[in-house]
Symmetry: C2
Subunit: 593 residues, 2 copies
């Protein structure tokens, strides 16, 4: 997506009137995100896919020029999502592009760290390559923490600093993906230091992830060279990060939603907004279908009182600048790619037409282009490797304590990426610790699915309110081992075995029957089906969760995070229960001391 010298010369020639435009857009109201103005009575001339001139373009219309009438429409820059994981949509990059482009997202900076945890650098390369052929502009930040931790879990693959250095040389790789191992960063972990150094040397962007509240930790992190964060959940945290010069990415994903909490920094604290952007991080298919993509985040921000042009700045030019791509992206100005949206209402942000590179790709509810077909290698669809078929007794947790035992419990919180450390006193029968459905304490297991080790860790979880059955998922951030949770261990075994048969995915089982399944054969993370089909599958999965008794919003997303040992406070991994605060494994059983 680098603009060539020849293209720039063509733009200049068009601006000067020496060459006709390929396309001229007339009669729209241009939204200028630099000056925060609505510009009326000016045309936009497009040549070689980019904007050549803004003004009276009548002289630039030749026989071959396409003239597009944008009467009654606002024209905005295409939206730019500065931090997101395509894998969370359960779609291939291609199918995600189809879902996102019609919502107005024309550029993404994806961090394919889910596939990296399964397949390493080659997985990153597959997704990046898939992205390069699409009408969506796909930029990649190289996953920095694969696996997320060295000591608490085992992923399917590892990215070493040399891999990161290699990927940083690929075209349209713009930086280092969210550096989640913040304790490693601040304490001088060799891998983290090497990756950060390589990114800075390459002149690219070091993106961050630091949910810590300790100012010492935060400032050490910033001093180490990380320049942004999307894990900001309170107004005070946001202010503190802005004061430190960080770029604060305000996140509104499907399962964690920070716009409401953070909008007051704009509407009440009136901070300079140039170091803010809007990002989605993780969205699941229904959100894409029902609410939209980054346009929904803008809508939400506007609803919270942010003025529409400011919200648009946060979703366009600010992200472009943060990734040093503002030469060609982020606004409607000469020299920028003609990625444009026609919008009836800036508050609603629902595009009626989408142009990418000057080409009308979506108009009046229809795509006007064919999307290329990307075929993942066979290897990509063979990622679930269990040692043996699972049985109910594999989920037993044994103890010598009698007749009750106190255990550490992982408590999940709705619409929140964090978990809480809980405790429960449970009954022991035949040396086996029993769940307590009444108190919502049920079984949870994490099974190695990468190395055929047969390793299973068992624990207890609170918050999902399952009354029967079991669920399982190979989407299990970030190592993506096989997660199984349930009230009934037979159902747990069925769920786990069926997932293996599908080659990965998500499933709900009750009384021995499969209620719903979402096959995700690509790395056990992504479907090879179109959005509509995946959306239906996921919808049916969510309904099935409800049938088991779960009342939570997007429970399978919260479930899939339960294995992520870089967000406080307590997690399960294939190795056991992880105390994220202490950054070490903790025992299941609490013995009196």
């Amino acid at each position: 997506m680098k603009m060539t010298r020849a293209q720039r010369l063509q733009l200049a020639a068009t601006a000067l009137g020496k060459r006709k435009a390929d396309t001229v857009i007339t009669n729209g109201i241009i939204v200028n995100v630099h000056s925060k103005e609505h510009i009326r009575d000016k045309d936009i001339a497009i040549t070689s896919g980019a904007i050549a001139y803004i003004g009276d373009c009548q002289q630039l219309i030749g026989k071959e020029t396409e003239v597009i009438d944008a009467s009654g429409k606002f024209i905005t820059p295409g939206l730019i999502d500065g931090h997101m994981h395509v894998e969370s949509t359960m779609l291939s990059v291609t199918e995600f592009a189809k879902a996102a482009l019609k919502q107005g997202t024309t550029s993404i900076f994806m961090d394919p760290h889910e596939i990296a945890n399964v397949f390493g650098l080659k997985g990153v390369r597959w997704m990046h390559e898939e992205g390069q052929k699409l009408p969506l502009r796909v930029f990649t930040t190289v996953p920095s923490c694969v696996p997320a931790t060295d000591t608490l879990e085992d992923a399917g693959a590892e990215l070493l600093p040399k891999d990161v250095e290699q990927a940083l040389e690929w075209e349209n790789v713009t930086g280092l993906g969210e550096v989640m191992n913040f304790p490693g960063v601040v304490h001088g972990d060799e891998k983290m230091a090497q990756e950060i150094e390589a990114t800075i040397q390459a002149g690219k962007t070091v993106t961050g992830h630091i949910p810590a509240d300790d100012p010492k930790m935060l400032q050490a992190y910033v001093a180490s060279g990380v320049t942004s964060c999307h894990e900001t959940v309170t107004r005070e945290q946001a202010l503190e990060k802005l004061r430190l010069g960080m770029h604060v990415m305000i996140r509104e994903g499907s399962a964690w939603q920070d716009v409401e909490q953070l909008a007051p920094i704009i509407t009440k604290d009136h901070v300079p907004t140039d170091n803010l952007s809007l990002v989605t991080d993780d969205v699941y298919p229904q959100t894409l279908t029902e609410l939209g993509h980054l346009n929904y985040v803008i809508r939400k921000a506007v609803k919270e009182g942010v003025d529409p042009i400011t919200a648009l700045q946060l979703a366009t030019i600010n992200a472009a600048k943060y990734f040093k791509c503002e030469d060609t992206l982020g606004s409607i100005a000469p020299g920028k790619w003609a990625d444009l949206l026609f919008i009836d209402s800036l508050a609603e942000m629902k595009p009626s037409s989408v142009l990418v590179g000057g080409k009308m790709i979506y108009d009046q509810g229809m795509y006007k282009v064919n999307f290329p077909v990307y075929t993942y290698p066979t290897e990509a669809k063979n990622s679930v490797h269990l040692k043996k078929e699972l049985k109910a007794e594999d989920f037993h947790t044994k103890t010598l304590t009698q007749p009750k035992v106190t255990v550490n419990v992982i408590e999940v919180l709705e619409n929140n990426a964090r978990t809480a450390k809980a405790k429960a006193e449970l009954t022991v029968r035949n040396s086996i610790i029993q769940s307590n459905i009444k108190e919502d304490i049920i079984h949870l297991a994490c099974i190695d699915r990468h190395h055929r080790s047969g390793q299973i860790s068992n624990a207890f979880v609170k918050g999902f309110q399952l009354q029967s059955g079991a669920v399982a998922s190979t989407v299990a951030h970030d190592s993506h081992n096989l997660l199984v949770m349930g009230v009934n261990k037979e159902d747990m075994a069925i769920a786990a075995n069926k997932i293996a048969e599908l080659g990965g995915g998500m499933i709900v089982v009750n009384h021995g029957k499969i209620l719903a399944e979402v096959p995700l054969p690509i790395a056990g993370l992504m479907s090879d089906k179109p959005l509509e089909q995946v959306g239906e599958q996921v919808e049916s999965l969510e309904q099935a969760w409800k049938k088991l008794g779960c009342k939570m919003n997007a429970p399978f997303m919260t479930f899939s995070l339960i294995a992520l040992p870089v967000i406080p406070s307590i997690r399960i991994t294939n190795r056991g229960i992880a105390d994220v605060d202490a950054f070490e494994l903790m025992p299941l059983e609490i013995t009196e001391s």
Copy 2:
């Protein structure tokens, strides 16, 4: 000035409290240019020359830690001048640093295009090298237009695209210097296109210079890849450039002063200010002594109603961001070099102390460090090459027309870089066109001083109001040939010959006597003497101009621009009279058509 990985690790260790700070500053009021706040009751901990932590730093004070009490002071980031020519100060980089640091300028982005016109790449290298050893952080933008034009003049040297590419690889070279040949840029001049392309490929900044008002020209220029301009003199121009996504450098130099005109874009139009910065461009020694440097520009902006923190943003973080140096420069935050000013009043911006890299280098009116001595090679001081001694008759302009002739006249405008096309009807005697002192039409000549060609072009100038004598200068932007102007041709010859004897400089002669001279032996542009001495020489030169009748502010600066054929509308070069608008030479004599 790249921060090493080891330095970053030391900062993190200090932030975490694992290592004592080298320096702790207490009790100051920290000016945060990110959040636009005054931060009270926090200390600043410095390690390895950079800021490690902001907050309660008592635990970071060890036996070796220097504690600095900043009670009653504001602490601001060191000022960053995003566009300036050291040569205009007539000082070496070292002597300039001494003058600027105590005014609070801690970083400059210099464009050494004056010396480049005399010595080419080796001249650029000398000045860049001199800058690397100083407490002032000297970044260089590679001169892009040497000579300023290919067709209108002859400089002493040329910079080719391969030279630019080479210099872009030097450490602390951050971009391409003001691309003045805007007609070349927009019309696809090969050299301009190659240089811009090389800079973009290197991930560096393409800085601009476009005084044109034509929106087609301007937009073609932006589309060609240039991202800033410091030649903006009206509010409307500034708004237009901001709308195009350009970074607008608001200039306040000694001879052209744009703050008053442009401040209303902030105070009245309320534009987003993140694409604005304050720069000095060209200042001469007296300004440094009497008014200050970039701190004076801030003071001026505040006087025009800009709030002090906004003005400070424009002179710190905004410039750092524009040059992609915000990882280590531009604000008081962890990971940034500890370049700090102690200030009593933000409106006055007169630092009582200056720290660079955490080291107190200036305090209570005294420098606390020794500046290194840089010795220019002998060649650098041997740059005036005339073919022969000049005589009065060399300045004759001959014509066959009788008894009157109408000629094109270059009219200069006070405090304005532009010139106006004027005409005059002059008397002819013995085929020689006569000046007309009463109408302020006097002699002007531009003599090749680089190639011993003997080439002299003669013309007439209006606006300086000289009543007698002559002036001469080897500071003659940008080719720096030998400019001579006068009422009396004998005095013109004396002035020119004396300049050659001095090895370059500026001079005023009256009735055969030298009234004042400023020897500038380094490339005919810079003194090898300290600021005080040069300041006195220049002061005496300005007085001498007044004695000849000139009432203009900084006449020798305006004079030195009279040969610059990239700023409208009419100029003199060694080849003749240049019509800048048409970008071609024009005849002296106007014949009826």
